[in-house]
C-alpha cells in the first residue's frame, strides 16, 4: 500500500469509524492505535508471562521441596532463577502496569486516546519480539542466562550463546519502556480535558506521571550498562575488567542506579491503584490527597540516591556505606505517609469488602511487612548478615508479589466490569483472594526464617536444618500458583457473560471513567468534557454540567 493510500485510508477512518467499534479480524490487534486495544494487549501479554515466569518459579520450589538434587541440575536451576526474575519484572509486572495506564489514563483525564497512538502500538509490539529473543536462549547451547537477573560480570559474560541475545532482548525491552513512558508523560501533560488541573488528577494518574519520569531516567542507564557488557565480551573493552583498569563493581553501581528506581517503577503504579480502590469501598475521599502526591514525588527523587544499598558487602568506603544507609531509611518517611493516608481513608468509612477491596487491604498489610524487612536490610551492619540470603528473597517477594502483583489483581477486579461490561463472580473472586492470600504467606513468610538462619539464595540444594521451612514454602508456592488459574477462569467468564454492570459499577466510585458506559465505548471523550471539582472530594474530578 502506498503512503498515499494509507493516508487516504487514515482520513477515511476518521469519517467512518469515529462512532463505531473496532474493525473486524485478528489483524485489528496488530495494527491498532486504540488505547483500549493496546491496554488489553499489554494485560494479556503480562498474564501469559505471569504463567511462564510462574512455571519457572514452581520448578524452583519443586527442586527446593527437600534437600538434595531432585529435578533440576544446578545449571538449569540457575537458568530458572535468572529467567524467572527477568520474565516477571520485564514481561509481567511492568507490562501489566502499562496496560492499566493505557486503559485508564485517557479515560481518567478526559482524553480521546494516548497522545502518540502509533508509537503506542510500537511500544507494545516490540515486547513479544524481545521475549522471543530472550526465551529462545533456553534452546541454545549453554542454555538460558544463568548468572542472575542482575547480570553481574564477570559471571554473566561466561554464559555461552545467550549473552548477546540477553543483552539485545534487554535493549528491546528498554526501547519499549521508554517509548511507553514518553507516551504516558505526554498524554498526562498535554491531553487533560479543560479544567483537569494537575491537582485534580486521580492519584493513579499522578503515580504514573512520576513512574514515567523514572522510566525515562532509568532505562537508558540500563541500556548503557548492558552495552558495556556487550563490548567487554565481544569487542575487547575493559569496563569491568580490573586487569585493564576497569572494575566489576562499577557495573553494580551503574546497574543499581537503574535498579533501585526500577523497584519504584514497579510499585508506584501499585500505590496509584490502591489509592483509587480504598476510597471507593470506604465511601470517603482519599485522606491527604496532596500529601500523597508529594510523598510519591519524594520517593521518586530519593530512589536515585540509594542504589548502593544493594552493594553494602561488595566493598565501599565507609562514608558510602553510611550515606546509602541513611538515604535508604529516609524512604520510609514518604512511604509511611502513604500507608498512614490509606489507613486514615478507611477510618470511620462505611466500608464494604468486595473482592478489589480485600486485595487492596491485603496489599496495605503485606506490602508494609515487605517495607519493614526492607528497613532491616537498609541497616548496613546487619545487612552483612542478611545479604544474599533468603531473607532478601522474602523481602522483595513481599514487595513485588503481595505488593505489585496484588495491586494488579485488585485493579483487574476493580475495573473488569468497566472493561467488559459484566460483573465478575463475587463468590469466586473471594475464593481466589483467600486462597492466594493464605498461600502466599505460607510461601514467603517462612523464607524470612530461612534467611535469618543463614540459607543463601540462588542455590539448588541446602543443609538439612533448612528442610522443614523449605517444604512449607514449596507447598504454599504450589497452592498459590494453581490458585491463579481460578483468576484466569474468572476473567474469561466475565468477558463472556455475566450480570450487566452499571455505569458507576461501585456505589462509592468517583472519577471520569465511572461516568462512561460499561463496557467503555471503543472511542471515548472525542469531545473533551469540562471538569469541575467536587470541593469535598479532592482528586475525584466530576464532569461539569
Amino acid at each position: 500500500m502506498s503512503a498515499n493510500q494509507a493516508h487516504a485510508h487514515a482520513a477515511d477512518s476518521i469519517a467512518e469509524h469515529d462512532h463505531h467499534g473496532p474493525p473486524p479480524g485478528l489483524l485489528r490487534w496488530v495494527f491498532t492505535t486504540n488505547h483500549k486495544d493496546i491496554g488489553t494487549l499489554y494485560l494479556w501479554f503480562a498474564l501469559i508471562m505471569f504463567f511462564v515466569g510462574g512455571a519457572l518459579a514452581l520448578g524452583i520450589r519443586a527442586e527446593l521441596f527437600k534437600p538434595g538434587l531432585q529435578l533440576l541440575d544446578p545449571h538449569l536451576f540457575n537458568q530458572f532463577t535468572t529467567m524467572h526474575a527477568l520474565i516477571m519484572i520485564f514481561g509481567a509486572v511492568m507490562p501489566a502496569f502499562v496496560g492499566f495506564a493505557n486503559w485508564l489514563v485517557p479515560m481518567m483525564i478526559g482524553a480521546p486516546d494516548m497522545a502518540l497512538p502509533r508509537m503506542n502500538n510500537w511500544s507494545f509490539w516490540i515486547l513479544p519480539f524481545a521475549f522471543t529473543l530472550l526465551l529462545a536462549t533456553f534452546f541454545m547451547p549453554g542454555g538460558a542466562p544463568a548468572g542472575g537477573w542482575t547480570m553481574y560480570p564477570p559471571l554473566v559474560l561466561q554464559g555461552g550463546s545467550n549473552v548477546a541475545f540477553l543483552i539485545f532482548a534487554v535493549h528491546m525491552m528498554g526501547i519499549s519502556s521508554i517509548m511507553g513512558a514518553i507516551n504516558v508523560i505526554v498524554t498526562i501533560l498535554n491531553m487533560r480535558a479543560p479544567g483537569m488541573t494537575l491537582l485534580r488528577m486521580p492519584l493513579f494518574v499522578w503515580s504514573w506521571l512520576i513512574t514515567a519520569f523514572l522510566l525515562i531516567a532509568a532505562m537508558p542507564v540500563l541500556a548503557g550498562a548492558v552495552t558495556m557488557l556487550l563490548t567487554d565480551k565481544f569487542f575487547g573493552t575493559s569496563f569491568f575488567n580490573a586487569a585493564g583498569g576497569g572494575d566489576p563493581v562499577m557495573f553494580q553501581h551503574i546497574f543499581w542506579f537503574f535498579g533501585h528506581p526500577e523497584v519504584y517503577i514497579m510499585i508506584l503504579p501499585a500505590f496509584g491503584i490502591i489509592s483509587q480502590i480504598i476510597p471507593t469501598f470506604s465511601r470517603k475521599p482519599l485522606f491527604g490527597y496532596e500529601s500523597m502526591v508529594y510523598a510519591t514525588a519524594s520517593i521518586a527523587f530519593i530512589s536515585f540516591i540509594v542504589w548502593a544499598h544493594h552493594m553494602f558487602t561488595v566493598g565501599m568506603p565507609l562514608t558510602g556505606e553510611l550515606f546509602f544507609m541513611y538515604t535508604t531509611m529516609l524512604i520510609a518517611v514518604p512511604t509511611g505517609v502513604k500507608v498512614f493516608n490509606w489507613m486514615a481513608t478507611m477510618w470511620r468509612g462505611s466500608m464494604t469488602f468486595e473482592t478489589p477491596m480485600l486485595w487492596a487491604i491485603a496489599f496495605v498489610v503485606l506490602f508494609t511487612i515487605g517495607g519493614f524487612s526492607g528497613l532491616m536490610l537498609a541497616i548496613t551492619p546487619v545487612d552483612f548478615q542478611y545479604h544474599d540470603t533468603y531473607f532478601v528473597v522474602a523481602h522483595f517477594h513481599y514487595v513485588l508479589v503481595t505488593g505489585a502483583v496484588f495491586a494488579i489483581i485488585a485493579g483487574a477486579y476493580y475495573w473488569l466490569p468497566k472493561w467488559t461490561g459484566h460483573n465478575y463472580d463475587e463468590t469466586l473472586g473471594k475464593w481466589h483472594f483467600w486462597l492466594s492470600t493464605i498461600s502466599v504467606n505460607v510461601l514467603f513468610f517462612p523464607q524470612h526464617f530461612l534467611g535469618l538462619a543463614g540459607m543463601p539464595r540462588r542455590i539448588p540444594d541446602y543443609a538439612l536444618q533448612f528442610a522443614d521451612w523449605n517444604m512449607v514454602s514449596s507447598v504454599g508456592a504450589f497452592v498459590f500458583g494453581f490458585s491463579q488459574l481460578l483468576f484466569v477462569y474468572i476473567v474469561v467468564q466475565t468477558i463472556r457473560g455475566g450480570k450487566k454492570a452499571t455505569d458507576q459499577v461501585w456505589e462509592g466510585a468517583e472519577g471520569l471513567e465511572w461516568t462512561l458506559a460499561s463496557p467503555a465505548p471503543y472511542h471515548t471523550f472525542e469531545q473533551p468534557p469540562s471538569i469541575k471539582e467536587d470541593s469535598a472530594h479532592p482528586g475525584t474530578p466530576l464532569p461539569a454540567h
Binding site: A3, N4, H7, H9, A10, S13, I14, H17, P23, R28, F31, T33, P112, A115, L116, R118, M119, N121, W122, W125, I126, F129, L133, A164, F165, F168, M172, A181, I182, I185, V186, N190, A217, M219, P220, V221, A223, G224, A225, T227, M228, D232, G236, T237, S238, F239, N241, A242, A243, G244, G245, G246, D247, M250, F257, G315, M316, P317, E526, Q527
Partner: protein, 289 residues
C-alpha cells in the same frame, strides 16, 4: 489542503510499528547470531536493516504528509514537542551511563588499583603490586600494549569550534525560517549539515591516527574503552543529527514549514544542540583533563 482537522488527530490503523518490530528483531537477532559465529547472520542483519529503513521512511513520510495536509492542530504539535524533549532526555541519560563509567574509573577504581585510600590499601598492593593508578591507563596488565593519547589542542579543539559554529548556523537558519526568508534558511541549513560532515571526517581522521600511529584502540584498557565508546556513540549521534538536518533541508527546499509551524525543524535543531552539548562534555573530560 488547508483545512485543519477539528480536534486531536488520531490515526486509526498503522502498519509501520509491526514492521519496525520485525526489522529490529531481525537486526538485533542477526547481530546476536553474528556474535555467536553464525554464517547466515549478515543476511539476517541486512534484511532487518532494510526493513527498518523502509519503516522509518514510510512512517515519517506518513507523518509529513499528514502534517502538510493540516491534520495536526496545535495540541498535536505540543505532543510532538513534549515527546522530542523526553526522547532527548533519555539520550542524555544514556550518555550519562558512559560518563559515569569514565568518572568512576578516574576517581575511584584506577586510584584504588594503585593502592590509594582505605579500599585500595588492602587490595591494590596485594593484587597488583607496583601498579601506579595514574590516568591515562590501560590497567595493571597493560591490556592492548603501550599507547599514546590525543592532545586536546589539535583536531579535538578544531572539532569543538566546528560543532559550536554549526550550532550557530542552525540557529541562523531558524531565525531565517521565522522571518520566512527561504533562501537563507536553506543556505544556513546546508552549512550546518556540511559542518557536521566535516566534523565526522575529522573524527574519522583522528580515529585512524589513533589506531595506526598511537596504538590507541578500543582494546586499550579502560582508557581506550571509555574514549572510543564515548566519542563513538557521540559520532553516531552526529550522524543521526546530520541526517535529520539533511531531511529538513530537503523539506525546506520543497517549501515545507511555515514561520509559525515547523516542529520537525525545531526538533532536529534541539537534537543538534544536544549533540553539541555532549561534545563539550567530551572535550572537557575526555580530551582536556
Amino acid at each position: 489542503m488547508s483545512a485543519t482537522h477539528p480536534g486531536y488527530y488520531i490515526p486509526h490503523d498503522t502498519r509501520w510499528p509491526i514492521m519496525g518490530s520485525i526489522g529490529l528483531f531481525a537486526l538485533l537477532g542477526g547481530f546476536a547470531m553474528l556474535l555467536n559465529g553464525s554464517s547466515s547472520a549478515p543476511v539476517v542483519m541486512i534484511i532487518g536493516t532494510l526493513i527498518l529503513v523502509v519503516m522509518i521512511i514510510g512512517w515519517f513520510g506518513t507523518v509529513i504528509k499528514e502534517s502538510e495536509s493540516g491534520f495536526y492542530n496545535d495540541q498535536v504539535d505540543i505532543s510532538f514537542r513534549h515527546g522530542m524533549i523526553w526522547f532527548i532526555f533519555s539520550e542524555v541519560l544514556f550518555f550519562a551511563a558512559f560518563f559515569g563509567a569514565l568518572f568512576y574509573a578516574r576517581i575511584y577504581s584506577v586510584p584504588w588499583l594503585g593502592g590509594e585510600g582505605s579500599v585500595g590499601a588492602t587490595t591494590g598492593p596485594l593484587l597488583w603490586p607496583g601498579f601506579e593508578g595514574i590516568w591515562p591507563t590501560n590497567g595493571p596488565a597493560e591490556i592492548g600494549g603501550a599507547f599514546g593519547t590525543i592532545p586536546a589542542v589539535g583536531i579535538p579543539l578544531l572539532n569543538t569550534i566546528i560543532l559550536i559554529t554549526s550550532g550557530a548556523t542552525v540557529t541562523l537558519a531558524h531565525w531565517a525560517l521565522k522571518k520566512n526568508q527561504r533562501k537563507p534558511l536553506c543556505w544556513w541549513l546546508l552549512a550546518t549539515v556540511l559542518l557536521g560532515l566535516v566534523f565526522l571526517y575529522f573524527q574519522g581522521v583522528e580515529f585512524a591516527h589513533a589506531y595506526n600511529d598511537l596504538n590507541l584502540t578500543l582494546e586499550s584498557g579502560i582508557y581506550g574503552s571509555t574514549f572510543f565508546m564515548l566519542t563513538g556513540f557521540h559520532g553516531l549521534h552526529v550522524t543521526i543529527g546530520a541526517i535529520m538536518l539533511l531531511v529538513m533541508l530537503l523539506r525546506a527546499m520543497r517549501g515545507h514549514f511555515t514561520p509559525e509551524r515547523h516542529f520537525a525543524f525545531e526538533a532536529a535543531a534541539w537534537y543538534w544542540h544536544f549533540v553539541d552539548v555532549v561534545w563539550i562534555g567530551l572535550f572537557i573530560f575526555v580530551y582536556w583533563f
